[in-house]
């Protein structure tokens, strides 16, 4: 495995580092460790660093910053000396209702996969997911780690709109729609949890590298949690004892 990424000037104000990596949580861990290294390197500089599956984007607030020097520096860097961080990220358990009123494509998927609906739910709740990054919509989680048996392509004709909280599958990713939105993913359930609060300075409780598990709730529990969230009495907390 080559630890040295392609280092590309991306427009006037960004540098893109792109690894020829498979999508695994170990590789994400390496990328996040390197992000941490860069965060320290860039300390006190006006810079944002975002990750995706296999990339880091270093974005400069101003185009007059020392992007040329940084580019040459990065190109000479020995990436094998980057020390992996220990144990980054929190663990969360997220409730999902898989009733057919929410799981619009559950029966379709079950037929396509020659599985029972229950088996799909069991597979989806048994897996340990890794949050790779947020994108597409504010607070949309790109989760990897879904069992291959559940992988399925996006819908050929995307839905015009799905409910906030819809849980979907696209290829070997799973994710939750933080708001009502047009949707191309196969929808298997719905989570009452708020994934994005624009009024908070940290608008999403999650960070790249977090570990996530889903647990099944009934339609009634879904309603109760929705009410609790409206009352402000539901708190999604990291599971320190997991």
């Amino acid at each position: 495995m080559n630890l040295k990424p392609q280092i590309i000037r991306y427009g006037e104000r960004a540098i893109l580092l792109q690894w020829d990596f498979k999508i695994t949580s170990e590789n994400l861990h390496f990328i996040l460790s390197f992000k941490k290294y860069l965060d320290d390197f860039y300390i006190k500089r006006n810079i944002y660093i975002n990750n995706t599956y296999n990339s880091l984007l270093v974005f400069y607030r101003s185009s007059i910053d020392c992007i040329y020097d940084d580019l040459s520096y990065l190109k000479t860097l020995d990436f094998s000396t980057i020390k992996p961080l220990r144990n980054s990220g929190n663990s969360y358990h997220i409730p999902v209702c898989y009733d057919l009123e929410f799981g619009l494509d559950l029966e379709f998927l079950a037929t396509q996969k020659s599985l029972e609906v229950n088996e799909i739910i069991n597979l989806h709740t048994a897996a340990d997911y890794t949050l790779y990054f947020m994108g597409f919509l504010p607070g949309f989680l790109y989760l990897g780690g879904m069992p291959e048996t559940l992988a399925y392509p996006r819908k050929i004709h995307p839905r015009k709109s799905i409910l906030k909280g819809a849980v979907g599958i696209a290829e070997n990713q799973t994710g939750i729609y933080p708001t009502s939105s047009p949707a191309g993913w196969q929808i298997i359930g719905n989570s009452p949890v708020n994934l994005f609060d624009k009024n908070k300075t940290k608008p999403s409780p999650f960070e790249a590298g977090d570990r996530i598990k889903f647990y099944e709730i009934t339609s009634k529990e879904h309603q109760l949690i929705t009410n609790d969230i409206a009352q402000g009495t539901f708190q999604l907390k990291p599971e320190t004892d997991v």
Binding site: Y10, G11, A14, T52, N54, G135, N199
Partner: protein, 288 residues
């Protein structure tokens, strides 16, 4: 505080500053003025901060009534404009008196104009910016009957009469400076030449998120693993056409990123009407 009343909103008018960069890792688009150059110009002529919120006016302009004195300046697209029935021009600071009415009439050149008021429009800041975006700010565009807050200011404290001669090259220049995008090198040499020697035209479906280009451009590339994109990224779609990502674009994408338009080029595209032609011109950066 004082108010500006929106008598007519125009075709598509939004409040914009220079956007919110620091929340992209939460999936929040950058947003901000499509022609950042003109927006900044209007602010600087009023002695404003360059990031103060301005009104971005698209294609047809609004009718506004001012409750109290302030100063205004308009830059970017050139409209026929009347302030209390007197014609006014771009690039000049004007004192607006109590109950003044500003009427935008027909557009003459360009596509987006920027109206700055002294100290900026004071809509609430959300996630570090006032730029309106669906799901982030309460409102996503101006509506008839809206009231916009501005500061009550002494008009003698500003820049009244300040004027600059504006080159405004982004209104008429059609050559768009670009860098190579991350996937440019994956194109065949023939296609690399073709993309720099084709006149592309803007499709009417274009909006603040993205502007598709009409001329087909055959695609032999695979999609990429979802990766970062930026305003100004030119993507190649599976159906063989190009899309220019604009200020409200998503923060990640899965189509090959062929070109990256420079800030100045993005401002030029923001001033082009649907149907107008552009060409891409590769610029080399100084790799000293």
């Amino acid at each position: 505080m004082s108010n500006i009343h929106i008598i007519q909103p125009g075709f598509f008018s939004t409040i914009q500053d220079l956007g919110r960069n620091q929340f992209t890792h939460f999936g929040v688009p950058v947003s901000g003025a499509m022609d950042s150059f003109s927006a900044t110009q209007a602010n600087l002529l009023l002695n404003n901060d360059r990031n103060d919120a301005v009104l971005e006016i698209t294609m047809t302009g609004p009718i506004l009534q001012f409750e109290s004195e302030t100063q205004i300046c308009i830059c970017g697209a050139e409209f026929e404009m009347l302030l209390d029935d007197k014609a006014i021009v771009n690039g000049k600071a004007y004192v607006v008196s109590r109950n003044s009415k500003l009427v935008f009439k027909s557009i003459k050149k360009g596509f987006r104009a920027y109206l700055a008021v002294q100290n900026g429009f004071k809509i609430p800041v959300v996630l570090g910016s006032r730029s309106q975006y669906q799901g982030i700010t309460e409102q996503t565009r101006l509506q008839k009957g809206d009231v916009l807050n501005i500061e009550t200011v002494s008009t003698t404290s500003g820049n009244a009469g300040a004027r600059i001669k504006i080159e405004n090259e982004q209104l008429w220049e059609t050559e768009i400076p670009v860098f190579k995008g991350p996937e440019f090198v994956k194109l065949s040499l023939e296609q690399q030449n073709l993309i720099l020697n084709t006149k592309f035209s803007l499709m009417p479906e274009g909006n603040r998120m993205a502007i598709p280009l009409r001329e087909p451009f055959s695609n032999e590339l695979q999609g990429i693993i979802t990766g970062p994109v930026l305003p100004g990224t030119v993507q190649l779609t599976p159906s063989g056409s190009l899309i220019v990502l604009m200020r409200d674009c998503q923060v990640t994408g899965g189509y090959p990123r062929i070109l990256q338009i420079l800030e100045k080029g993005l401002c030029k595209i923001a001033q082009k009407k649907p149907g107008e032609f552009i060409t891409f011109k590769m610029v080399e950066y100084d790799p000293h």
